[in-house]
Symmetry: C3
């Protein structure tokens, strides 16, 4: 569910250790909230510095690296409330601190929220948050069929 796409220049996240540590911390942020670990997908995209422009400029090897992170939240949407949004970005800040901020990288992130009902894993509808079925997904750490995972689709008049 949470999908983290990390676009980083060559010279950053070159070794498995740094990627794994980051991905593990991201995962912890969501499992703490009760979500299954396997919901958390982190993709690293190593880019050539010449393909990254910030303010119309590329950076040299001696400049601070610039990392752009796109976070997509699907399973749980935030109520439209300043304090709730603030809490979310604070959580994210805590996660990215050792992996981006403390390393002296420049970075930017934004969170996009998309429709839960247009989301599936292995063609199963993920169970309701905090449901008994979700608990099983947490315990097994994989998508397990359950009653309600495959509701019959009734064709409405028009749709895409």
């Amino acid at each position: 569910m949470p999908l983290w796409q990390i676009y980083h220049p060559a010279g950053t996240f070159e070794d498995k250790t740094s990627k794994k540590a980051f991905a593990e911390d991201i995962t912890k942020m969501y499992t703490t909230l009760g979500l299954p670990a396997f919901y958390v997908v982190v993709n690293f995209f190593k880019m050539d510095g010449g393909d990254i422009y910030v303010g119309g400029q590329t950076r040299t090897a001696t400049d601070k690296p610039f990392v752009r992170v796109i976070v997509t939240h699907i399973a749980i949407h935030l109520p439209d409330d300043d304090s709730v949004y603030l809490c979310t970005t604070s959580r994210i800040d805590k996660i990215v601190k050792p992996h981006l901020l403390d390393k002296g990288y420049d970075f930017e992130y934004h969170v996009d929220e998309t429709e839960r009902r247009l989301w599936k894993i292995n063609s199963l509808i993920p169970p309701r948050h905090k449901s008994a079925e979700e608990r099983i997904w947490v315990d097994k750490n994989r998508a397990v069929p359950y009653d309600g995972a495959y509701p019959p689709a009734v064709a409405p008049q028009s749709s895409i």
Copy 2:
């Protein structure tokens, strides 16, 4: 319009045949609904397994490959109705079955819907769905100028 971004690990979709078959089935899903074939863009992104973390873990060559699909719908938005959403994901499930599920891949997809009025092809406004102009785009299978494709922009007070 529909943009399918398919992030797949090395070892999957390595040959043209498997990519073409998947892209063709995706395309059919939308042409069946009356949309021009060229609206359907499918991008394959082959990733190093070491750049994909699911639940904080990478997978080995003997694990199931994990494919993450992002679908963006722009041309037609869904009414906010459970049965309509269900119908859409059912269509998608049918498409991905032979290409992901039956191959034993783990996969996850979500659909994002974005604003139709912030979308252009070759700087033309795509014609209204089911209009005569759209019919021409279907027949010619490319973006063709028409009355209304280039409306004059009147600068509002402020915008981005």
Copy 3:
């Protein structure tokens, strides 16, 4: 803030000159509106032609190249008004004209708008548009701490 992700086939944007010119024109579009230059991030993704399907087909070296652009707007959202949207796409058309249209490329772009309050740069909340603090960010062309950049997060009952 504005993030431009440009997915282009090999054979296009191969040299630094063409990428830089495009990124500079994109940047100008936003600095003209008073935003800091460094808000503008442009990422080029060179793709193998065999990984791009349009209407179920790949293109050959003699076909028109197809470039897909994803624009994400975060800092300023558009009022839901046809003329405002039209003005935005007209601005974009002006930018892409010399870099895509005049080169004879086929292209498609869409703009996605995401929540401003779920966006940070170097873990700072970007200052309000047209505020004195934003002015400083414009002048220094980097994220500078200011009062209000780190508001204390009060944990709400539940959030992600």
